[in-house]
Amino acid sequence: MMQVLVDGIVAASFITLGVVGLSMVFNILNFPSFAHGELITSGGYIALAIVALFGTVGSIAGLSFGWPLIIALMCAAVLNSLLALVLDRSIYRQMRVRNASRISLIMASFGVSLMLRNVVVMFAGQDPHFFTFTIQPALKFWGIRITANELIVVGVTIVLVLGLHLFLSRTTLGKSMRAVAENASLARVNGIDVDYVIRWTWIIGTALATVAGVMLGFTIQLHPFMGFELLLPMFAALIVGGMTSIYGALLGALLIGLAEGLTVEYLASEYRQAATFVLIILVLLFRPHGIVGEKA
Protein backbone atom coordinates (compact mmCIF):
# COMPACT_ATOMS: atom_id res chain seq x y z
CA MET A 1 0.00 0.00 0.00
CA MET A 2 2.81 2.42 0.89
CA GLN A 3 4.47 1.61 -2.45
CA VAL A 4 1.24 2.55 -4.26
CA LEU A 5 1.10 5.79 -2.32
CA VAL A 6 4.68 6.66 -3.26
CA ASP A 7 4.12 5.76 -6.93
CA GLY A 8 0.97 7.88 -6.89
CA ILE A 9 2.87 10.84 -5.42
CA VAL A 10 5.54 10.53 -8.13
CA ALA A 11 2.84 10.47 -10.84
CA ALA A 12 1.05 13.37 -9.13
CA SER A 13 4.26 15.43 -9.22
CA PHE A 14 4.27 15.56 -13.03
CA ILE A 15 0.55 16.35 -13.12
CA THR A 16 1.00 19.01 -10.42
CA LEU A 17 3.65 20.97 -12.30
CA GLY A 18 1.55 20.86 -15.45
CA VAL A 19 -1.79 21.64 -13.86
CA VAL A 20 -0.52 24.70 -12.00
CA GLY A 21 0.24 26.44 -15.29
CA LEU A 22 -3.01 25.19 -16.81
CA SER A 23 -4.96 26.51 -13.82
CA MET A 24 -3.18 29.89 -13.90
CA VAL A 25 -3.90 30.33 -17.61
CA PHE A 26 -7.50 29.19 -17.15
CA ASN A 27 -8.17 31.60 -14.30
CA ILE A 28 -6.28 34.61 -15.60
CA LEU A 29 -6.85 34.33 -19.36
CA ASN A 30 -10.25 32.72 -18.91
CA PHE A 31 -9.83 29.74 -21.23
CA PRO A 32 -8.51 26.19 -20.83
CA SER A 33 -5.36 26.00 -22.94
CA PHE A 34 -5.25 22.67 -24.73
CA ALA A 35 -1.71 23.52 -25.82
CA HIS A 36 -0.38 23.38 -22.27
CA GLY A 37 0.59 19.73 -22.64
CA GLU A 38 2.69 20.64 -25.66
CA LEU A 39 4.55 23.26 -23.61
CA ILE A 40 5.61 20.35 -21.37
CA THR A 41 6.80 18.50 -24.46
CA SER A 42 8.57 21.49 -25.99
CA GLY A 43 10.28 22.21 -22.65
CA GLY A 44 11.65 18.68 -22.49
CA TYR A 45 12.86 18.74 -26.08
CA ILE A 46 14.47 22.19 -25.81
CA ALA A 47 16.41 20.90 -22.79
CA LEU A 48 17.38 17.82 -24.84
CA ALA A 49 18.73 20.06 -27.61
CA ILE A 50 20.78 22.08 -25.10
CA VAL A 51 22.12 18.89 -23.50
CA ALA A 52 23.14 17.74 -26.99
CA LEU A 53 25.22 20.93 -27.29
CA PHE A 54 26.95 20.14 -23.96
CA GLY A 55 27.52 16.54 -25.13
CA THR A 56 26.72 15.10 -21.70
CA VAL A 57 24.07 15.21 -18.98
CA GLY A 58 26.78 14.84 -16.35
CA SER A 59 26.27 12.97 -13.11
CA ILE A 60 25.73 13.85 -9.47
CA ALA A 61 26.05 11.08 -6.89
CA GLY A 62 23.16 8.64 -7.20
CA LEU A 63 21.38 10.56 -9.95
CA SER A 64 21.38 9.85 -13.66
CA PHE A 65 22.13 13.49 -14.44
CA GLY A 66 24.31 16.36 -13.31
CA TRP A 67 24.91 20.08 -13.76
CA PRO A 68 24.73 20.07 -17.58
CA LEU A 69 21.08 18.92 -17.42
CA ILE A 70 20.26 21.35 -14.59
CA ILE A 71 21.73 24.24 -16.63
CA ALA A 72 19.90 22.96 -19.73
CA LEU A 73 16.66 22.92 -17.70
CA MET A 74 17.10 26.55 -16.68
CA CYS A 75 17.91 27.64 -20.24
CA ALA A 76 14.97 25.59 -21.56
CA ALA A 77 12.62 27.22 -19.02
CA VAL A 78 13.65 30.66 -20.31
CA LEU A 79 13.43 29.68 -24.01
CA ASN A 80 10.14 27.82 -23.56
CA SER A 81 8.65 30.79 -21.71
CA LEU A 82 9.74 33.03 -24.57
CA LEU A 83 8.00 30.63 -26.95
CA ALA A 84 4.81 30.90 -24.87
CA LEU A 85 5.07 34.71 -24.86
CA VAL A 86 5.49 34.76 -28.65
CA LEU A 87 2.46 32.48 -29.03
CA ASP A 88 0.42 34.70 -26.72
CA ARG A 89 1.50 37.89 -28.47
CA SER A 90 0.90 36.55 -31.98
CA ILE A 91 -2.27 34.53 -31.40
CA TYR A 92 -4.11 34.77 -28.08
CA ARG A 93 -3.55 38.50 -27.53
CA GLN A 94 -4.79 39.29 -31.04
CA MET A 95 -7.93 37.37 -30.16
CA ARG A 96 -8.32 39.03 -26.75
CA VAL A 97 -8.23 42.56 -28.17
CA ARG A 98 -10.92 41.50 -30.64
CA ASN A 99 -13.04 40.16 -27.77
CA ALA A 100 -12.88 36.60 -29.09
CA SER A 101 -15.19 34.16 -27.36
CA ARG A 102 -13.86 31.52 -25.01
CA ILE A 103 -14.66 28.76 -27.51
CA SER A 104 -12.59 30.57 -30.18
CA LEU A 105 -9.63 30.72 -27.78
CA ILE A 106 -10.04 27.01 -26.99
CA MET A 107 -10.04 26.14 -30.70
CA ALA A 108 -6.98 28.34 -31.22
CA SER A 109 -5.21 26.47 -28.40
CA PHE A 110 -6.07 23.19 -30.16
CA GLY A 111 -4.38 24.60 -33.26
CA VAL A 112 -1.33 25.68 -31.28
CA SER A 113 -1.22 22.21 -29.71
CA LEU A 114 -1.17 20.49 -33.11
CA MET A 115 1.40 22.93 -34.45
CA LEU A 116 3.81 22.51 -31.53
CA ARG A 117 3.49 18.72 -31.52
CA ASN A 118 4.24 18.53 -35.23
CA VAL A 119 7.17 20.93 -34.95
CA VAL A 120 8.64 18.57 -32.33
CA VAL A 121 8.04 15.59 -34.64
CA MET A 122 9.60 17.49 -37.56
CA PHE A 123 12.82 18.19 -35.66
CA ALA A 124 13.11 15.18 -33.36
CA GLY A 125 11.04 12.46 -35.07
CA GLN A 126 8.38 10.16 -33.64
CA ASP A 127 10.76 7.92 -31.70
CA PRO A 128 11.36 8.38 -28.00
CA HIS A 129 14.49 10.13 -26.77
CA PHE A 130 16.39 9.78 -23.54
CA PHE A 131 18.60 12.19 -21.64
CA THR A 132 20.66 9.21 -20.55
CA PHE A 133 20.59 5.42 -20.84
CA THR A 134 22.00 4.96 -17.35
CA ILE A 135 19.93 2.43 -15.41
CA GLN A 136 19.26 3.58 -11.88
CA PRO A 137 19.08 1.10 -9.02
CA ALA A 138 16.03 1.62 -6.81
CA LEU A 139 16.63 2.72 -3.24
CA LYS A 140 14.78 0.89 -0.47
CA PHE A 141 13.26 2.60 2.57
CA TRP A 142 11.08 0.49 4.88
CA GLY A 143 10.17 -1.77 1.97
CA ILE A 144 9.39 1.08 -0.40
CA ARG A 145 11.33 1.15 -3.67
CA ILE A 146 12.06 4.52 -5.22
CA THR A 147 14.89 5.75 -7.45
CA ALA A 148 17.00 8.79 -6.61
CA ASN A 149 15.61 10.50 -9.71
CA GLU A 150 12.04 9.96 -8.46
CA LEU A 151 13.00 11.38 -5.08
CA ILE A 152 14.30 14.46 -6.88
CA VAL A 153 11.03 14.70 -8.83
CA VAL A 154 8.96 14.70 -5.63
CA GLY A 155 11.38 17.01 -3.80
CA VAL A 156 11.55 19.55 -6.63
CA THR A 157 7.76 19.52 -6.98
CA ILE A 158 7.26 20.14 -3.25
CA VAL A 159 9.79 23.00 -3.29
CA LEU A 160 8.24 24.58 -6.39
CA VAL A 161 4.69 24.28 -5.03
CA LEU A 162 5.71 25.83 -1.70
CA GLY A 163 7.59 28.55 -3.60
CA LEU A 164 4.51 29.20 -5.73
CA HIS A 165 2.34 29.39 -2.62
CA LEU A 166 4.68 31.96 -1.06
CA PHE A 167 4.80 33.86 -4.35
CA LEU A 168 1.00 34.00 -4.64
CA SER A 169 0.39 34.86 -1.00
CA ARG A 170 3.31 37.17 -0.19
CA THR A 171 4.36 39.11 -3.29
CA THR A 172 2.58 42.00 -4.96
CA LEU A 173 2.73 40.27 -8.34
CA GLY A 174 1.31 37.07 -6.85
CA LYS A 175 -1.57 38.94 -5.22
CA SER A 176 -2.11 40.82 -8.48
CA MET A 177 -2.40 37.45 -10.25
CA ARG A 178 -5.04 36.30 -7.77
CA ALA A 179 -6.85 39.61 -8.23
CA VAL A 180 -6.81 39.39 -12.04
CA ALA A 181 -7.94 35.76 -11.83
CA GLU A 182 -11.00 36.85 -9.86
CA ASN A 183 -11.93 40.12 -11.55
CA ALA A 184 -9.70 41.55 -14.30
CA SER A 185 -11.87 44.63 -14.75
CA LEU A 186 -11.61 45.58 -11.06
CA ALA A 187 -7.88 44.83 -11.15
CA ARG A 188 -7.50 47.36 -13.98
CA VAL A 189 -9.28 50.17 -12.16
CA ASN A 190 -7.12 49.33 -9.19
CA GLY A 191 -3.99 50.18 -11.16
CA ILE A 192 -2.91 46.64 -12.01
CA ASP A 193 -1.42 46.28 -15.49
CA VAL A 194 -3.32 43.17 -16.58
CA ASP A 195 -1.10 42.62 -19.65
CA TYR A 196 1.95 42.53 -17.38
CA VAL A 197 0.23 39.96 -15.15
CA ILE A 198 -0.69 37.87 -18.20
CA ARG A 199 2.93 37.85 -19.38
CA TRP A 200 4.12 36.59 -15.99
CA THR A 201 1.35 33.99 -15.97
CA TRP A 202 2.74 32.52 -19.17
CA ILE A 203 6.32 32.73 -17.90
CA ILE A 204 5.62 30.97 -14.58
CA GLY A 205 3.19 28.42 -16.04
CA THR A 206 5.55 27.54 -18.87
CA ALA A 207 8.63 27.38 -16.64
CA LEU A 208 6.82 24.86 -14.42
CA ALA A 209 5.72 22.93 -17.54
CA THR A 210 9.37 22.84 -18.65
CA VAL A 211 10.41 21.38 -15.30
CA ALA A 212 7.69 18.72 -15.73
CA GLY A 213 8.90 17.96 -19.26
CA VAL A 214 12.54 17.58 -18.22
CA MET A 215 11.66 15.47 -15.17
CA LEU A 216 9.48 13.20 -17.31
CA GLY A 217 12.45 12.96 -19.66
CA PHE A 218 14.94 11.80 -17.07
CA THR A 219 12.59 9.47 -15.18
CA ILE A 220 10.78 7.90 -18.16
CA GLN A 221 11.48 9.20 -21.67
CA LEU A 222 10.83 12.06 -24.05
CA HIS A 223 8.37 11.53 -26.88
CA PRO A 224 6.26 13.95 -28.93
CA PHE A 225 2.98 12.88 -27.27
CA MET A 226 4.19 13.02 -23.66
CA GLY A 227 2.51 16.36 -22.94
CA PHE A 228 -0.64 15.46 -24.83
CA GLU A 229 -0.94 12.28 -22.77
CA LEU A 230 -0.72 14.37 -19.58
CA LEU A 231 -3.57 16.59 -20.76
CA LEU A 232 -6.34 14.27 -19.53
CA PRO A 233 -4.94 13.85 -16.00
CA MET A 234 -4.20 17.60 -15.88
CA PHE A 235 -7.75 18.56 -16.83
CA ALA A 236 -9.07 15.88 -14.50
CA ALA A 237 -7.04 17.40 -11.66
CA LEU A 238 -8.43 20.82 -12.54
CA ILE A 239 -12.03 19.55 -12.50
CA VAL A 240 -11.61 17.40 -9.38
CA GLY A 241 -9.82 20.09 -7.39
CA GLY A 242 -11.82 23.06 -8.66
CA MET A 243 -11.34 25.13 -11.79
CA THR A 244 -11.21 28.45 -9.93
CA SER A 245 -8.53 27.51 -7.44
CA ILE A 246 -4.84 26.87 -8.04
CA TYR A 247 -4.68 25.14 -4.64
CA GLY A 248 -7.64 22.99 -5.65
CA ALA A 249 -5.76 21.98 -8.78
CA LEU A 250 -2.84 20.84 -6.61
CA LEU A 251 -5.16 18.68 -4.50
CA GLY A 252 -6.75 17.36 -7.69
CA ALA A 253 -3.33 16.39 -9.06
CA LEU A 254 -2.55 14.41 -5.90
CA LEU A 255 -5.90 12.59 -6.02
CA ILE A 256 -5.58 11.76 -9.72
CA GLY A 257 -2.00 10.53 -9.20
CA LEU A 258 -3.10 8.31 -6.31
CA ALA A 259 -6.15 7.02 -8.24
CA GLU A 260 -3.92 6.09 -11.16
CA GLY A 261 -1.42 4.40 -8.84
CA LEU A 262 -4.13 2.38 -7.09
CA THR A 263 -5.66 1.34 -10.42
CA VAL A 264 -2.34 0.12 -11.80
CA GLU A 265 -1.64 -1.80 -8.59
CA TYR A 266 -5.04 -3.42 -7.98
CA LEU A 267 -6.64 -3.56 -11.45
CA ALA A 268 -4.55 -3.08 -14.56
CA SER A 269 -2.70 -0.20 -16.17
CA GLU A 270 -5.29 -0.22 -19.01
CA TYR A 271 -7.91 1.05 -16.53
CA ARG A 272 -5.81 4.03 -15.47
CA GLN A 273 -7.72 6.51 -17.63
CA ALA A 274 -11.03 4.92 -16.65
CA ALA A 275 -10.19 5.58 -12.99
CA THR A 276 -9.56 9.22 -13.86
CA PHE A 277 -12.97 9.49 -15.52
CA VAL A 278 -14.72 7.76 -12.60
CA LEU A 279 -13.14 10.30 -10.25
CA ILE A 280 -14.29 13.18 -12.49
CA ILE A 281 -17.85 11.80 -12.59
CA LEU A 282 -17.98 11.32 -8.82
CA VAL A 283 -16.76 14.84 -8.15
CA LEU A 284 -19.10 16.37 -10.73
CA LEU A 285 -22.02 14.50 -9.16
CA PHE A 286 -21.34 15.54 -5.58
CA ARG A 287 -19.22 18.72 -5.87
CA PRO A 288 -19.89 20.19 -9.33
CA HIS A 289 -17.46 23.07 -8.72
CA GLY A 290 -14.66 20.76 -7.60
CA ILE A 291 -13.53 19.85 -4.10
CA VAL A 292 -12.34 23.35 -3.19
CA GLY A 293 -13.65 25.28 -6.18
CA GLU A 294 -16.25 28.01 -6.15
CA LYS A 295 -19.09 28.68 -8.53
CA ALA A 296 -17.46 30.61 -11.41
Binding site: T172, E182, N190, G191, I192
Partner: protein, 245 residues
Protein backbone atom coordinates in the same frame (compact mmCIF):
# COMPACT_ATOMS: atom_id res chain seq x y z
CA UNK B 1 -3.74 80.58 -12.30
CA UNK B 2 -3.46 76.88 -11.38
CA UNK B 3 -5.97 77.32 -8.56
CA UNK B 4 -8.66 78.29 -11.08
CA UNK B 5 -8.22 75.14 -13.19
CA UNK B 6 -11.01 72.69 -12.25
CA UNK B 7 -9.84 69.33 -10.98
CA UNK B 8 -12.02 67.44 -13.45
CA UNK B 9 -13.54 68.71 -16.66
CA UNK B 10 -15.81 66.55 -18.80
CA UNK B 11 -16.54 68.35 -22.05
CA UNK B 12 -19.20 67.34 -24.58
CA UNK B 13 -18.51 63.66 -23.91
CA UNK B 14 -19.88 61.15 -26.40
CA UNK B 15 -19.47 57.53 -25.31
CA UNK B 16 -21.19 54.16 -25.49
CA UNK B 17 -20.63 50.45 -25.26
CA UNK B 18 -21.52 49.74 -28.90
CA UNK B 19 -20.12 51.72 -31.85
CA UNK B 20 -22.60 54.26 -33.25
CA UNK B 21 -24.98 53.79 -30.30
CA UNK B 22 -23.86 56.48 -27.84
CA UNK B 23 -25.26 56.48 -24.33
CA UNK B 24 -23.69 59.85 -23.56
CA UNK B 25 -24.51 62.46 -26.19
CA UNK B 26 -22.51 65.51 -25.20
CA UNK B 27 -22.40 65.40 -21.39
CA UNK B 28 -20.36 68.09 -19.65
CA UNK B 29 -19.45 68.81 -16.06
CA UNK B 30 -16.77 70.47 -13.96
CA UNK B 31 -15.55 69.50 -10.51
CA UNK B 32 -13.34 71.94 -8.63
CA UNK B 33 -10.55 70.75 -6.34
CA UNK B 34 -11.87 69.65 -2.96
CA UNK B 35 -15.52 69.64 -4.07
CA UNK B 36 -18.01 66.85 -3.61
CA UNK B 37 -20.12 66.81 -6.76
CA UNK B 38 -22.93 64.37 -7.34
CA UNK B 39 -24.34 63.18 -10.65
CA UNK B 40 -28.00 62.20 -10.59
CA UNK B 41 -30.52 61.11 -13.13
CA UNK B 42 -33.21 58.56 -13.83
CA UNK B 43 -32.35 55.01 -14.90
CA UNK B 44 -30.71 54.94 -18.32
CA UNK B 45 -29.65 58.60 -18.17
CA UNK B 46 -25.99 57.62 -18.54
CA UNK B 47 -24.71 58.26 -15.00
CA UNK B 48 -22.67 55.06 -14.71
CA UNK B 49 -21.56 55.33 -18.34
CA UNK B 50 -20.24 58.82 -17.61
CA UNK B 51 -18.11 57.69 -14.69
CA UNK B 52 -16.92 54.58 -16.58
CA UNK B 53 -16.00 56.69 -19.61
CA UNK B 54 -13.91 58.97 -17.38
CA UNK B 55 -12.28 55.82 -15.95
CA UNK B 56 -11.44 54.64 -19.47
CA UNK B 57 -13.76 51.63 -19.29
CA UNK B 58 -16.19 52.72 -22.00
CA UNK B 59 -15.03 53.77 -25.49
CA UNK B 60 -15.18 57.56 -25.92
CA UNK B 61 -15.94 58.74 -29.44
CA UNK B 62 -16.21 62.48 -28.85
CA UNK B 63 -15.41 65.25 -26.41
CA UNK B 64 -12.65 65.34 -23.83
CA UNK B 65 -11.87 64.53 -20.19
CA UNK B 66 -9.25 66.63 -18.41
CA UNK B 67 -7.79 66.13 -14.95
CA UNK B 68 -5.98 69.18 -13.58
CA UNK B 69 -5.93 70.59 -17.10
CA UNK B 70 -4.41 67.53 -18.79
CA UNK B 71 -6.43 65.35 -21.12
CA UNK B 72 -6.74 61.75 -19.91
CA UNK B 73 -8.71 60.56 -22.93
CA UNK B 74 -7.12 57.41 -24.30
CA UNK B 75 -5.05 56.70 -21.16
CA UNK B 76 -5.21 53.01 -20.17
CA UNK B 77 -7.52 52.38 -17.22
CA UNK B 78 -4.73 50.99 -15.01
CA UNK B 79 -2.58 54.08 -15.64
CA UNK B 80 -5.28 56.44 -14.30
CA UNK B 81 -4.46 55.46 -10.72
CA UNK B 82 -0.96 56.84 -11.28
CA UNK B 83 -2.59 60.03 -12.61
CA UNK B 84 -4.39 60.45 -9.29
CA UNK B 85 -7.82 59.18 -10.34
CA UNK B 86 -9.52 56.39 -8.39
CA UNK B 87 -12.78 54.70 -9.32
CA UNK B 88 -15.03 52.55 -7.13
CA UNK B 89 -17.42 50.43 -9.23
CA UNK B 90 -21.01 49.88 -8.13
CA UNK B 91 -20.88 46.08 -7.93
CA UNK B 92 -18.18 43.42 -7.62
CA UNK B 93 -15.92 46.07 -6.16
CA UNK B 94 -13.84 43.91 -3.82
CA UNK B 95 -11.66 40.88 -4.48
CA UNK B 96 -13.72 38.34 -2.56
CA UNK B 97 -11.01 35.63 -2.54
CA UNK B 98 -8.48 38.00 -0.99
CA UNK B 99 -8.44 39.15 2.62
CA UNK B 100 -9.43 42.68 3.56
CA UNK B 101 -5.78 43.62 4.06
CA UNK B 102 -4.74 42.07 0.74
CA UNK B 103 -7.46 44.16 -0.93
CA UNK B 104 -5.97 47.26 0.66
CA UNK B 105 -2.42 46.27 -0.33
CA UNK B 106 -3.47 46.05 -3.97
CA UNK B 107 -4.79 49.60 -3.73
CA UNK B 108 -1.23 50.78 -3.21
CA UNK B 109 0.24 49.01 -6.22
CA UNK B 110 1.58 52.27 -7.66
CA UNK B 111 3.65 52.95 -4.53
CA UNK B 112 4.43 49.55 -3.03
CA UNK B 113 7.15 50.69 -0.56
CA UNK B 114 4.58 52.87 1.28
CA UNK B 115 1.94 50.15 1.53
CA UNK B 116 2.31 49.45 5.28
CA UNK B 117 2.29 53.12 6.22
CA UNK B 118 -0.85 53.75 4.15
CA UNK B 119 -2.63 50.71 5.53
CA UNK B 120 -2.10 52.10 9.05
CA UNK B 121 -3.46 55.49 7.91
CA UNK B 122 -6.44 53.77 6.29
CA UNK B 123 -7.20 51.85 9.48
CA UNK B 124 -7.34 55.18 11.33
CA UNK B 125 -10.04 56.37 8.90
CA UNK B 126 -11.84 52.99 8.84
CA UNK B 127 -11.19 51.44 12.30
CA UNK B 128 -13.59 48.53 11.65
CA UNK B 129 -11.43 47.28 8.81
CA UNK B 130 -8.47 46.66 11.12
CA UNK B 131 -10.58 44.20 13.11
CA UNK B 132 -11.61 42.47 9.86
CA UNK B 133 -8.19 42.60 8.17
CA UNK B 134 -7.57 38.84 8.04
CA UNK B 135 -11.11 38.00 6.93
CA UNK B 136 -11.82 37.10 3.30
CA UNK B 137 -13.58 40.04 1.66
CA UNK B 138 -16.20 37.62 0.32
CA UNK B 139 -17.43 37.07 3.88
CA UNK B 140 -18.19 40.74 4.52
CA UNK B 141 -21.60 42.40 4.54
CA UNK B 142 -22.57 44.79 1.73
CA UNK B 143 -21.75 47.85 3.83
CA UNK B 144 -18.39 46.45 4.92
CA UNK B 145 -17.55 45.66 1.29
CA UNK B 146 -18.29 49.24 0.28
CA UNK B 147 -15.98 50.46 3.04
CA UNK B 148 -13.22 48.13 1.79
CA UNK B 149 -13.77 49.34 -1.78
CA UNK B 150 -13.58 53.00 -0.78
CA UNK B 151 -10.61 52.37 1.52
CA UNK B 152 -8.77 50.50 -1.23
CA UNK B 153 -9.35 53.35 -3.68
CA UNK B 154 -7.93 55.78 -1.09
CA UNK B 155 -4.78 53.68 -0.64
CA UNK B 156 -3.36 55.20 -3.84
CA UNK B 157 -3.81 58.68 -2.33
CA UNK B 158 -5.85 59.89 -5.29
CA UNK B 159 -6.63 63.54 -5.85
CA UNK B 160 -9.98 62.55 -7.33
CA UNK B 161 -12.17 59.63 -6.32
CA UNK B 162 -15.22 58.61 -8.36
CA UNK B 163 -17.89 56.40 -6.82
CA UNK B 164 -20.63 54.65 -8.74
CA UNK B 165 -23.78 54.36 -6.63
CA UNK B 166 -22.03 53.36 -3.39
CA UNK B 167 -25.32 53.32 -1.46
CA UNK B 168 -26.92 50.71 -3.75
CA UNK B 169 -28.19 47.83 -1.64
CA UNK B 170 -27.22 49.46 1.66
CA UNK B 171 -29.57 50.15 4.56
CA UNK B 172 -30.35 53.83 5.27
CA UNK B 173 -28.19 53.59 8.40
CA UNK B 174 -25.23 52.18 6.49
CA UNK B 175 -25.73 54.78 3.74
CA UNK B 176 -25.50 57.46 6.41
CA UNK B 177 -22.26 55.99 7.77
CA UNK B 178 -20.78 55.75 4.27
CA UNK B 179 -21.75 59.29 3.31
CA UNK B 180 -20.28 60.57 6.58
CA UNK B 181 -17.01 58.90 5.57
CA UNK B 182 -17.19 60.65 2.20
CA UNK B 183 -17.48 63.99 3.99
CA UNK B 184 -14.41 63.10 6.07
CA UNK B 185 -12.54 62.16 2.89
CA UNK B 186 -13.51 65.45 1.26
CA UNK B 187 -12.39 67.31 4.37
CA UNK B 188 -9.01 65.66 3.81
CA UNK B 189 -8.75 67.49 0.49
CA UNK B 190 -9.86 64.74 -1.88
CA UNK B 191 -12.17 65.74 -4.75
CA UNK B 192 -15.19 63.46 -5.02
CA UNK B 193 -17.46 62.70 -7.96
CA UNK B 194 -20.43 60.73 -6.71
CA UNK B 195 -22.89 59.05 -9.05
CA UNK B 196 -26.03 58.27 -7.08
CA UNK B 197 -29.54 56.95 -7.42
CA UNK B 198 -30.38 58.02 -3.87
CA UNK B 199 -30.89 61.65 -4.89
CA UNK B 200 -32.04 63.07 -1.55
CA UNK B 201 -29.14 61.61 0.42
CA UNK B 202 -26.56 62.60 -2.21
CA UNK B 203 -27.84 66.18 -2.61
CA UNK B 204 -27.82 66.58 1.17
CA UNK B 205 -24.04 66.13 1.35
CA UNK B 206 -22.83 67.49 -2.01
CA UNK B 207 -21.49 70.94 -2.84
CA UNK B 208 -23.03 70.86 -6.29
CA UNK B 209 -24.92 68.40 -8.42
CA UNK B 210 -25.60 67.62 -12.05
CA UNK B 211 -28.74 65.93 -13.31
CA UNK B 212 -28.33 63.87 -16.45
CA UNK B 213 -31.18 63.11 -18.82
CA UNK B 214 -30.90 61.20 -22.08
CA UNK B 215 -27.09 61.29 -22.06
CA UNK B 216 -26.72 65.03 -21.49
CA UNK B 217 -26.36 67.28 -18.46
CA UNK B 218 -29.88 68.71 -18.07
CA UNK B 219 -29.64 70.67 -14.80
CA UNK B 220 -26.95 71.85 -12.45
CA UNK B 221 -26.91 73.69 -9.16
CA UNK B 222 -26.11 73.39 -5.48
CA UNK B 223 -27.61 70.55 -3.51
CA UNK B 224 -30.27 72.83 -2.01
CA UNK B 225 -31.19 74.29 -5.43
CA UNK B 226 -31.63 70.87 -6.99
CA UNK B 227 -33.62 69.57 -4.02
CA UNK B 228 -36.08 72.44 -4.35
CA UNK B 229 -36.24 72.39 -8.16
CA UNK B 230 -39.63 71.39 -9.57
CA UNK B 231 -37.97 70.43 -12.90
CA UNK B 232 -35.69 67.95 -11.17
CA UNK B 233 -38.65 66.69 -9.14
CA UNK B 234 -40.59 66.12 -12.35
CA UNK B 235 -37.71 64.21 -13.89
CA UNK B 236 -37.56 61.91 -10.86
CA UNK B 237 -41.14 61.79 -9.63
CA UNK B 238 -43.07 62.57 -12.80
CA UNK B 239 -44.87 65.47 -11.10
CA UNK B 240 -44.16 69.07 -10.12
CA UNK B 241 -43.32 67.89 -6.59
CA UNK B 242 -39.92 68.81 -5.21
CA UNK B 243 -37.45 66.14 -4.02
CA UNK B 244 -37.11 68.08 -0.76
CA UNK B 245 -40.81 67.83 0.06
Amino acid sequence: MTATVPHLVVEDLVAGYVPDVPILRGASLKVNAGELVTVLGPNGAGKSTLIKAVAGMVPVTGGDVRVSGKSIRGIATHALVGAGVAYVPQTNNVFTRLSVEENLELGCICDVPRTRERIEETYRLFPDLERLRRLGAGRLSGGQRQMVAVARALMARPGLIMLDEPSAGLSPKMTGVLFQKLLEIRAGGVTILLVEQNAKAALAICDRGYVLAEGRDAFTGTGAELLSSTEVGELYLGSKARLAS
